[in-house]
Symmetry: C2
Subunit: 397 residues, 2 copies
C-alpha cells in the first residue's frame, strides 16, 4: 500500500479567510462563555445544502467531530477531498437535500473560519494562541444557536452528529429542548471517560513537547509543531479504529518488502499508514485548535451540569431521539449510548436505539454502512411525517 | 492524589556499571543474531534468589517485560523501590526461594547492565545508540541460554514471565524444548498484533520527534529526550490498564481542585497520574532501549518462524505449560492466549489454561492477585512433584 504525498494546502488561510459563508458578530453581540468571560468580536463559518422551506421548518443541523469541519458535502478547500459526510448528505441521500436544508458550521475553537486560537485577537493584534479562552461543548452549541437565530430558524427539524458532534447534539437537546424536534447522537457519550481524557492528554503533551510549538506562538514565529501534532494524531487515530479492523486491513503485512529490515523503518504497513495519517493531519489542522477541542471534550459531562442526573438534563423533553452506537467502537462504546438511552427513558423522552454490528470501530459513523444509512433514513422519514413536513418549494427526489 | 517528586537516580550508571552480577563474553564468544551479524564482546547482568540444588535441577528463570529488569525481588538500584515481582518471588511465595533457585537477567537491548544501545561500543569508542543491532526475542533467549550454560544449568525447571517476558517463555519452549521442563507464559501472545505495533510506533515516533534525542546520540551530547520518552510512556501506560480500572481509580475526579480551571493544567487526576508516569519513566529507562525493545516485540511472530504453523513451533514438546490471561487485558487479550493453547493442544503438548477475572488490565500480572498466586503455586508444585524435585540442601519453608 502506497500513500500519496501530502500537499501543502494552505490550512492557515482557511482560519482567517474561509471559503465558507461567515457570520460576524461585533463587539456589541459578544458570546458569553461557560468558563466566564466573553468572546467579541467573533465569527462563525458554515456551509448549507438544499433550500430552507417557506415555513423554515426543514433545517437539519449537522455537528462535526473533533477534527471535522463544515465541509460536509462539498469539496474540502484544504484537502481537495470530498466532504466528510458526502455519503450521508445530498440529493436522495439519508439527509436528503432535495427535502431538507442542511447546515453545518465550524465549531468554536476550530480552525476553518469560526473563531478559534488561530484567529486574530484584536486585543493583542496577533493570533489568539493560548490567549483564546478554553471553550466547552455548550459554548459551541450556544454559538450555533446564534447562527440559527441569524438564519431565522427557530426550530431545527433535526440535529445530528457523531463523536464530539454527538456531544453537541446532546447539549442542544438539553440546552434548547424547544428548538430541537429530532436528535441523532451517534457514537458518543454524555461524558468523556477517564481513558479518553488520558488519550487526549497524551496528544496534548505530544504537541506541547514539540519545541516548534513555541508555547503556542508558532503562528507568530513562523514555525509549526509538525512532529508533535503528528504523534498526537497517530495515537488518536488508533483509537478511532478497532483491533479487528487493523488486523483485517494490515495484520502483520510488510510495506513494500518481503522481510523485516531489522531497522526503525516503517517495515509494517500499519506503521506506514499511521505515519501518513500523522503527516497529512498536520497539513489540515491547527495544533492549538487540537488542544482546545480535546479539552472541550474532556470537560463534557452533561449529568454534572444538571445536578448529577443525566435524566434531569432531558426532563420534559419533547424531542425525538435516535441513539446509535457501533459494536467495535471502544472510544465511545455501546455502554455510553445505553447510559444516554436509559436517561432518556427515565426522562420519559421518545427514544429509539440501534447498535450497529461492524468491526470498523469508532470511525464507522463516517463510513458507508447500510445499517447507518437505513437507520438514519427511517428515523428522518418518520420524524418528517410526525412533524407533517410538506415538501414545499423543493423538488422531490 | 499527590505524586512524589521524581528523584534523579542515575539510571545511566546502571547501564555501564550495574549493581548486579554480570557475565562478560569476550570477542571469542560472540552472540550470533537473528538479523545477521554478531555482538562481541557482550555482557549479561542478572540477579539470583535462593540456592541451586546439587542436581542443578531447581532453577526458575524469570523473563522480564519491556521496561522491566532483573531486579525481581530486591530493591531496585535505580528507583529505590521493591523488586517488580517481589510479591511472587521470595521465601514461601509462589516462586518459593526456599525451594527454588530463581534467576532473572536483564534482556539484550535493555539498559540495566546487559549489552544494549546505551552500552559502550568498542568499535566506535562511544555508546552504541543506533549502531546497536536490532535484536529479537530469539536473540534475548539465546543470550539467556548462554547465561544458563555459564551457570551450569542444563535443564531449567520453569521459565516464566508476562507480556514481553511471556514471549521469551514461548521462544524458550520453541528453541530449547529439551531445556525447559515447565513454562508459564502470562498475558502474552505468539505474535504482536497490528494494533500493538501501531502503539509501539507512536511511542517510537514520540521519542524520535524530540530534538533532544539527537538522532540517538543524546548520551554523547549530554542531552536526554525527556519529553518524547514521557509521551511514549504515557501512551503505552494507558494500554497497560483497562478502561474500567481507569474509571474506578480516577473517573472524572479533579486533582486538588473542586472545579475545572478552564486551562491546560492537569485538572483531572488521570492527567496528573499519567504525567507522573511519564516523568518517572524517563528517570529509570534509556530512550534508545525503548526503541529497540519495542521493535523486538513488533518482530515477534513465532508461527512465521516455523513455516506459518504455531503448532509446529511446539511439535514433540515435553514441556508442561500453564498459560494465563486476564479478562480485561486488551493489549494481549485472552484470544491471544487461546491461540497459544490451541497450538499446544494441536502439538500434543501438556497445557493448562487459566483466564483470570480482573478489571486491572494487562498490568494485572504485576499485581497481588490471589488467582494469579494460587494458579502459579499449584502449577509449580505439581510440576515439582512430576519432576521428583527433592529439597536437597535447601531448607523447606
Amino acid at each position: 500500500m502506497t500513500h500519496p504525498a501530502v500537499p501543502d494546502t494552505g490550512q492557515r488561510n482557511e482560519a482567517t479567510h474561509p471559503s465558507s459563508a461567515v457570520v460576524h458578530f461585533g463587539a456589541e453581540t459578544p458570546l458569553h462563555l461557560e468558563g466566564g468571560g466573553q468572546l467579541a468580536p467573533w465569527s462563525i463559518a458554515y456551509q448549507t445544502y438544499g433550500q430552507l422551506n417557506a415555513e423554515r421548518s426543514n433545517a437539519i443541523l449537522i455537528c462535526h467531530a473533533l477534527t471535522g469541519d463544515q465541509h460536509v458535502a462539498n469539496v474540502n478547500p484544504v484537502t481537495g477531498k470530498s466532504g466528510w459526510w458526502d455519503t450521508m448528505v445530498g440529493p436522495g441521500k439519508p439527509f436528503d437535500t432535495n427535502r431538507f436544508f442542511v447546515i453545518c458550521s465550524n465549531v468554536l475553537g476550530s480552525c476553518l473560519g469560526t473563531t478559534g486560537p488561530a484567529s486574530f485577537n484584536p486585543a493583542t493584534q496577533r493570533p489568539y494562541a493560548l490567549d483564546f479562552p478554553v471553550v466547552t461543548i455548550r459554548d459551541m452549541v450556544n454559538a450555533q444557536a446564534r447562527l440559527m437565530d441569524h438564519l431565522g430558524i427557530e426550530t431545527i427539524f433535526c440535529v445530528a452528529g457523531g463523536s464530539m458532534g454527538g456531544m453537541q447534539v446532546l447539549e442542544w437537546a438539553a440546552s434548547y429542548p424547544q428548538r430541537v424536534f429530532a436528535a441523532m447522537p451517534i457514537a458518543t457519550s454524555a461524558k468523556h471517560s477517564a481513558q479518553n481524557i488520558a488519550f487526549h492528554e497524551v496528544g496534548r503533551q505530544a504537541v506541547m513537547a514539540d519545541p516548534e510549538w513555541r508555547k503556542g506562538r508558532y503562528l507568530d514565529e513562523g514555525t509549526r509543531p509538525e512532529k508533535g501534532l503528528a504523534v498526537a494524531r497517530m495515537a488518536a487515530h488508533i483509537t478511532y479504529l478497532s483491533e479487528q479492523a487493523l488486523h483485517r486491513k494490515f495484520g502483520r503485512n510488510f510495506q513494500d518488502r518481503m522481510a523485516p529490515t531489522f531497522s526503525f523503518d516503517a517495515d509494517f504497513e500499519v506503521e506506514s499508514y499511521l505515519r501518513y495519517q500523522g503527516r497529512s493531519f498536520v497539513e489540515r489542522f491547527d495544533a492549538n485548535s487540537y488542544l482546545f477541542l480535546t479539552r472541550a471534550m474532556d470537560y463534557f459531562d452533561l449529568a454534572k451540569d444538571h445536578g448529577g442526573s443525566l435524566a434531569r438534563a432531558f426532563s420534559g423533553s419533547k424531542t425525538r431521539f435516535c441513539v446509535m452506537s457501533f459494536t467495535s467502537d471502544w472510544l465511545f462504546p455501546t455502554r455510553d449510548s445505553r447510559a444516554i438511552v436509559h436517561a432518556l427513558n427515565a426522562a420519559g423522552a421518545s427514544v429509539s436505539f440501534v447498535e450497529i454490528e461492524t468491526d470498523k470501530g469508532h470511525d464507522a459513523f463516517l463510513l458507508e454502512l447500510p445499517d447507518l444509512f437505513n437507520t438514519t433514513r427511517g428515523f428522518i422519514d418518520s420524524a418528517a411525517r410526525a412533524k407533517g413536513l410538506t415538501i414545499s418549494g423543493v423538488r422531490t427526489s
